[in-house]
Amino acid sequence: MKQNLKKLNEYEWELDKSTRPGMNVNAKIIANSSILKAIEDDAVQQLTNVACLPGVIEPVIGLPDMHWGYFNRSY
C-alpha cells in the first residue's frame, strides 16, 4: 500500500482513492521521510479502511504517530 503514496511536499503524502476499490475519499499522511519509513504498511491499510466508511469527508488523515491497531489496549 505504501508504494502508492504520492509525495505532495516534504511533509505530506497522498493516497488516491483509486488505489483500492471501496475508498470514498483520498487519504493523506503527514510525516517527514524518516517517519514515513517507520510507518507500517498495515497502518496505511487501516487508514484506507476508514476512507471506505459512508459519509466520510476528504481526506482521512494519518498523523506521523500512526501505527497499526485501532484499539489502545490499556484501560
Binding site: L47, G55, L63, F71, Y75
Partner: protein, 395 residues
C-alpha cells in the same frame, strides 16, 4: 492509531471502533515554579510519595468511593463536579478542552456494569501506556506563547499526567461495539474491517453511543483533575509550601480518543461534521497541543494553527506512536535493566510491574523528535516547549 476522520452530520456515521476502548485517554500538563535543582535533591522521595498517593495498575481502585448519584453527576458535569467537591479549581476548568465537560452526556445510556466499574476507579492511573511524569523544561522555541502558559525558564519543573476513563470507558466501548455491530447489519453499512463498526450518525445506535461516550469523556476529565489535586497535596508535603505558592496550575488538558461534533470549512462551505480523533489531539488555532513522548524521552508542548483547520480538521499528533508491538517489546527488553539505565540518565522510574517498563521502552516507539518535526514542518502545530523526564510513575 494516530488518525483523524470527519463524517457528515446527516449522511455520515459515528463509529465506536474509531474512538476505541480508552475513551478520552488524554493528557494534562501541570506547571510548577520549582527548578530542576530544587526538585532533583528530593526526586526519589517525591516519586515514592506520589506512588503512594496515586493508585496505579490495571485494576487499581481509588481512595474515592462514589455513590451512584455522585457518579451520575460526574458523568454529566465532569470537572464541575470535581471543583464543587474541592478537587481542582475554576482556573483548571478554563484550561481544559471543552472546559472539562462535554455537554449532552447521558448516564442512562451507560450500562450498570460500566457504572459499577466507574464507582471504584475515579482518581486512578491505570496501567499500559498511562503515566505520571515529572519533567524539566529543556528548550523554549516560542517564548511569547510559552510565557502565556506560565512556562518561563529552562529547568522549570512541569508534570504530565496521561490516563483515561478506566474500566468505565472500556465497558462503554465494549457495550457499543456490540450494539454497533448489529447496527452495521441493520442499516446495511459496508465496512471493510470488522473492527470498524459504526452506526448512521442520526440513528438511535449512533446517538446513544455519542451520549454515552460523552459521559465517559467527562469521567476521564474528572479522573485527571482528581489526581491533579492529590499530586498538588503530595508536593505540599514534600516541599513544605502550598501548591498555590508553587504555582501548580493546569497548563492545558486534552483528549486523545474522542468523537466531536464540530463545524469545519469544507470546500469553502461551513459544515457540521463528526470528527473522530483516534490517537490524535485537537489543535485549534492558538490552543496548546500537548504531545506526550515515550517513557524516558522528550515530550513537547506545541501550538495549534489555522493550517490545522485547513489541513487536518483542527488536529495534530498525540504521542510517539508504537514502532513495535507490546508483546515484541516484552520479549526484547527487560524492565529491571531499563529502570537502572534510566536512573543512570537521571530519571527515577517506578512501576507496579517491571514488564510495563519493557512494554513502554522508548525503542518500542517512533522518535518523538522526528514526529514533532513532521507536524511543525506541515504547519499543523508549531513547537513551543520541549521537556525531558526526571521522574516517571507507571501502572
Amino acid at each position: 492509531m494516530g488518525a483523524v476522520s470527519a463524517f457528515d452530520e446527516q449522511d455520515g456515521i459515528i463509529s465506536s471502533g474509531l474512538c476505541g476502548f480508552d475513551i478520552n485517554c488524554g493528557v494534562n500538563s501541570i506547571r510548577t515554579n520549582l527548578t530542576y535543582s530544587e526538585v532533583q535533591t528530593k526526586i526519589k522521595e517525591l516519586v515514592s510519595e506520589l506512588f503512594k498517593t496515586i493508585p496505579c495498575g490495571v485494576g487499581s481502585k481509588g481512595k474515592l468511593k462514589l455513590t451512584k448519584s455522585e457518579l451520575d453527576e460526574v458523568l454529566v458535569k465532569g470537572v464541575n463536579w470535581a471543583v464543587k467537591n474541592n478537587y481542582g479549581t475554576k482556573e483548571d476548568i478554563k484550561n481544559l478542552e471543552e472546559n472539562g465537560c462535554m455537554k449532552g452526556a447521558d448516564p442512562n445510556k451507560i450500562s450498570d456494569l460500566a457504572k459499577k466499574r466507574g464507582l471504584q476507579q475515579l482518581g486512578t492511573l491505570g496501567a499500559g501506556n498511562h503515566f505520571l511524569e515529572i519533567q524539566k523544561v529543556s528548550d523554549i522555541y516560542d517564548k511569547e506563547f510559552s510565557n502565556k502558559l506560565g512556562i518561563k525558564d529552562k529547568d522549570q519543573v512541569l508534570l504530565m499526567l496521561h490516563c483515561g476513563s478506566r474500566g468505565l470507558g472500556h465497558q462503554v466501548a465494549s457495550d457499543y461495539l456490540k450494539s454497533q455491530e448489529k447496527a452495521v447489519k441493520k442499516y446495511n453499512i459496508k465496512i471493510p474491517d470488522k473492527q470498524l463498526v459504526a452506526a448512521p450518525a442520526q440513528s438511535e445506535e449512533g446517538q446513544d453511543y455519542f451520549k454515552a461516550m460523552k459521559a465517559a469523556v467527562n469521567y476521564s476529565f474528572t479522573n485527571r483533575i482528581v489526581m491533579t489535586q492529590w499530586i498538588r497535596e503530595t508536593f505540599e508535603k514534600v516541599f513544605n509550601k502550598t501548591w498555590q505558592e508553587m504555582d501548580m496550575n493546569t497548563v492545558w488538558g486534552l483528549c486523545h480518543n474522542v468523537v466531536k461534533l464540530e463545524e469545519h470549512t469544507i470546500e469553502n462551505k461551513k459544515q457540521k461534521v463528526y470528527v473522530h480523533r483516534k490517537g490524535a489531539t485537537r489543535a485549534f488555532p492558538n490552543e496548546p497541543v500537548i504531545v506526550a513522548g515515550t517513557m524516558g524521552t522528550a515530550s513537547y508542548i506545541c501550538k495549534g494553527t489555522k493550517i490545522a483547520m485547513e489541513k487536518s480538521f483542527g488536529s495534530s499528533v498525540h504521542g510517539a506512536g508504537r514502532a513495535m508491538s507490546r508483546t515484541a517489546a516484552i520479549k526484547s527488553f527487560r524492565g529491571t535493566e531499563i529502570q537502572k539505565d534510566m536512573e543512570k540518565r537521571g530519571i527515577i522510574a517506578k512501576a507496579t510491574n517491571p514488564k510495563v517498563l519493557a512494554e513502554e521502552f522508548e525503542k518500542a516507539y517512533k522518535d518523538v523528535n522526528e514526529i514533532i518535526e513532521s507536524v511543525h514542518g506541515a504547519g499543523i502545530s508549531t513547537k513551543v516547549t520541549k521537556v525531558l523526564p526526571i521522574g516517571v510513575l507507571k501502572g
